[in-house]
């Protein structure tokens, strides 16, 4: 693995055209990037075999056939690719690494070639002609390597004339791998934790309450107002489901403080749940419908138990995809909630309503030290929506940002909205053993950011995803930005919101980070 302290290795980023110029193929460049495999107990907790099965080959082939029966996307996508090449330059990991197997179509082909061999006429009788191949241990290893270099961001799906989504293939591949006993440590360990404690961190209710107490104290010190962060309060109207990173990581916490202030100012009753103290759902990353359902179900249970009327999700990208697009399927129907509100609702939808109705008092000048841009998180941008209008997932966060800060600029149109680049850490890759890949994968986003820094003096970038925030705070220093150049959208809301009865001039002084 490349040393992480050498900034030069990941350059150049002084010329934006250089990065968006497609790299020359560097065959095998990332062939040795093999994320840690899960221990047997972690696989078994999710209902998978602990170790590689002796008859793994038969099981894998059968699983592939089963998925083709159960999932139209998998079946159709494997059949319809014409190898036109439109997707080949779209993946941030390909742009960052040059490894041809990180081109979306080539990544799909790792599995498609095997599927053809066992499930299609042409592949059975003319394997060479159509590029079909047998399933071997080498192929299985190759799957593990390269399907864990896909963040399931769907940028390729937008570019494909047939809507072929590599994320679907990648999820299926991971499910096949899990079904033969080859799981990924990062994802499987975390899903296990959720099943036991209710969150990815393994934080128990007592520790969570203690953390929230500290945060309430900070809020009182900062604002002079008693802003509460309730936990497990039965009878509250709103259940807030937020990524557990919001409880301990920077800049996530500042976003949580923002939600609390908005709820306080709006005068609504709300609560967190210790049983469902996690918005993220890593079941999606491993393509396991059953695990995703089980994790989602906790939210339903918590909502029923607490007797809430509404569910609101905090800032989290993949979580919002699961919430917006899948939750009704996985844990519905939600006929016991108030049908006058979207189920579930995004915190930004709530905040924007409060701002637009004038109920939230805003002092934009509190954010005058920041020149902002917005990073569209991939799964929000391409796998979900917000608001009442189509494209609301792009407009709602921008409207909120423009309402709370004076200086805002968008990045290059090819790198935002539905064309946004993944941060480089999504899809279950936010683990230190993939740091090299993460830094390289962040390159396109960093280049677009550098461009607006040069043109408009942009100092900070806001995001609405826990993974994006963690990823950027780690990799931005490699590209010459401070680790606090990444901010939560609700951190900016938090700075700007004026609370009744609060002491003036207590909003924390924005810290500016000198670039480089």
């Amino acid at each position: 693995m490349a040393p992480l302290d050498k900034k030069d290795e990941y350059g150049p980023f002084d010329n934006v055209d250089q990065v968006f110029e497609v790299p020359k193929l560097a065959c095998g460049a990332m062939a040795d990037t093999h994320t840690f495999e899960a221990a047997p107990e972690h696989n078994e907790m999710l209902g998978f075999p602990g170790e590689l099965l002796p008859n793994w080959k038969e099981v894998a082939i059968a699983k592939m056939g089963e998925l083709a029966e159960k999932n139209r996307a998998f079946k159709v996508y494997l059949d319809t690719c014409v190898k036109c090449g439109a997707c080949t330059d779209k993946c941030h990991y390909f742009i960052g690494t040059g490894d041809p197997k990180n081109m979306p179509v080539a990544r799909q082909d790792l599995l498609r070639s095997v599927y053809r061999r066992y499930y299609t006429f042409a592949g059975k009788y003319f394997p060479k002609l159509v590029g079909a191949r047998d399933l071997t241990k080498e192929v299985l290893d190759e799957w593990y390597t390269y399907y864990h270099q896909c963040s399931q961001c769907r940028r390729c799906a937008v570019s494909c004339p047939y809507g072929i989504d590599t994320a679907e293939i990648s999820m299926a591949a991971r499910e096949i791998l899990d079904s033969v006993g080859v799981g990924q440590k990062y994802c499987n360990e975390i899903i296990g934790k959720v099943k036991v404690t209710g969150n990815n961190l393994g934080l128990n209710p007592k520790a969570l309450r203690a953390t929230l107490d500290d945060l309430e104290e900070d809020l009182l010190d900062d604002t002079g107002v008693e802003v509460r962060i309730p936990l497990d309060e039965k009878g509250a109207d709103i259940l807030l489901i937020t990524p557990s990173a919001d409880f301990f990581a920077e800049p996530h916490i500042d976003g949580l403080l923002g939600y609390a202030k908005v709820f306080h100012a709006a005068g609504v009753s709300w609560t967190l749940s210790s049983y469902a103290s996690e918005a993220a759902n890593f079941g999606m990353f491993i393509g396991s419908y059953e695990n995703m359902r089980e994790v989602s179900w906790r939210i339903r249970q918590a909502a029923k138990d607490l007797g809430v009327k509404r569910i609101i999700f905090g800032e989290c990208g993949h979580a919002w995809r699961v919430a917006y697009s899948f939750l009704n399927t996985l844990a519905g129907p939600f006929d016991f909630l108030d049908q006058n509100y979207p189920i579930p609702q995004h915190i930004l939808e709530f905040t924007l309503d409060e701002i637009e109705s004038g109920r939230l008092k805003i002092d934009k000048s509190k954010n005058d030290d920041y020149v902002m841009t917005f990073h569209d998180s991939c799964n929000v941008a391409r796998g979900s929506a917000m608001g009442r209008e189509e494209g609301g997932q792009f407009e709602v966060p921008r409207k909120v940002l423009r309402a709370v800060c004076n200086h805002y600029y968008d990045m290059d149109p090819d790198t935002i909205r539905e064309n946004t680049f993944c941060c480089g850490g999504g899809g279950g890759l936010l683990t230190d053993d993939l740091m090299d890949l993460r830094i390289k994968g962040a390159k396109p986003r960093m280049t677009a950011l550098k461009q607006v820094t040069d043109e408009h003096g942009v100092t900070h970038m806001a995001a609405i995803c826990a993974i994006c925030k963690t990823q950027f705070s780690k990799v931005m220093p490699k590209y010459g930005y401070g680790m606090d150049s990444i901010m939560s959208v609700h951190q900016l809301v938090s700075n700007a919101v004026v609370l009744d009865g609060g002491n003036e001039d207590t909003a924390e002084e924005p810290e500016t980070e000198e670039s480089k």
Binding site: K24, L25, K70, N71, R72, A73, K75, V76, Y77, D79, T80, C81, V82, K83, C84, G85, A86, C87, T88, D89, P100, M103, V105, D109, A122, F126, L129, V130, G131, V158, C160, P161, Y162, G163, I164, D165, E168, K195, V196, Y289, E290, R293, R300, Q301, D305, Y324, S325, F326, N328, T329, G332, P333, P342, I343, R382, G383, A385, E390, R417, E418
Partner: protein
């Protein structure tokens, strides 16, 4: 003798094309899509999805936005082929429909557009390193097959003239289950042979992209998951989970 063989092959190829493609399409239609996975920009109504698919089918909207060169060649080829196919209806209709007669002169030019598109796509496959990397022999062969059809077609008027009325007579015969004589010239036999090959490989090759396009959940689903619950049969049969939180916290 050869005419009989071609007649039989045409019937076989037609059955392959219709039954094979039909079975695949039925399979796509019957395979459930367990989750809502529309990809942005995703319409929130059925009408919006219809408009989206019209954009994709008529001018390859996504391809237009993602790769202009492939788009140019793809449009030349597909629209060229469409006109050529319409032009060929005159070999299957008697009397020839007026609008098919009208299109005849354009049809000749359309063949050139089709050829230009095919050659462009072939050149990209060889010249662009990324596309060469992802190409299998079948990807080249498919283009060569189509190029062969166009070339042999043109040769019938440019190199070795074929009596097309006789060909038409053969085709009309097929439609009435009668075997009539084909002109015994290499170019027409090659032309028809390649077309028969194309019809047979259609359902077992990537040519299935044409019907497959209409079954991609990412493009055809309506983005309305919050409003309407989407549940497939197999997902509905999973063991139920309890609504109450299990006691004692453990597990």
């Amino acid at each position: 003798m050869l005419s009989t063989l071609y007649a039989v092959l045409f019937y076989v190829a037609t059955i392959f094309l219709i039954v094979g493609t039909g079975m695949k399409v039925l399979k796509y239609a019957r395979t459930p899509a367990p989750l809502k996975i529309p990809v942005s920009p995703a319409p929130r109504t059925r009408a919006g999805v219809v408009m989206r698919m019209i954009r994709e089918v008529t001018y390859f909207h996504s391809l237009f936005r993602s790769n202009r060169w492939i788009w140019v060649f793809a449009i030349l080829f597909h629209y060229g082929m469409l006109l050529v196919l319409i032009r060929h209806l005159r070999y299957f209709t008697d009397p020839v429909w007026w609008w098919v007669a009208l299109i005849q002169p354009i049809g000749v030019l359309a063949g050139l557009a089709m050829l230009a598109g095919l050659l462009g796509l072939f050149a990209r496959r060889i010249v662009v390193q990324r596309i060469r990397y992802i190409s299998s022999p079948s990807d080249y062969l498919m283009l060569l097959l189509l190029i062969g059809i166009v070339a042999s077609g043109y040769s019938m008027s440019l190199v070795d003239r074929v009596d097309v009325l006789k060909v038409k007579n053969f085709m009309l015969g097929l439609m009435h289950f009668q075997i009539r004589e084909l002109p015994m010239q290499a170019n027409i036999l090659i032309h028809l042979g390649l077309v028969i090959t194309l019809m047979i490989v259609f359902p077992i090759s990537k040519l299935m992209h044409a019907p497959g396009l209409f079954f991609a959940p990412s493009r055809t689903q309506v983005d309305n998951a919050r409003k309407f619950r989407h549940l497939t049969a197999w997902a509905n049969q999973l063991p139920p989970l309890p609504d109450a939180i299990p006691e004692a916290g453990e597990k």
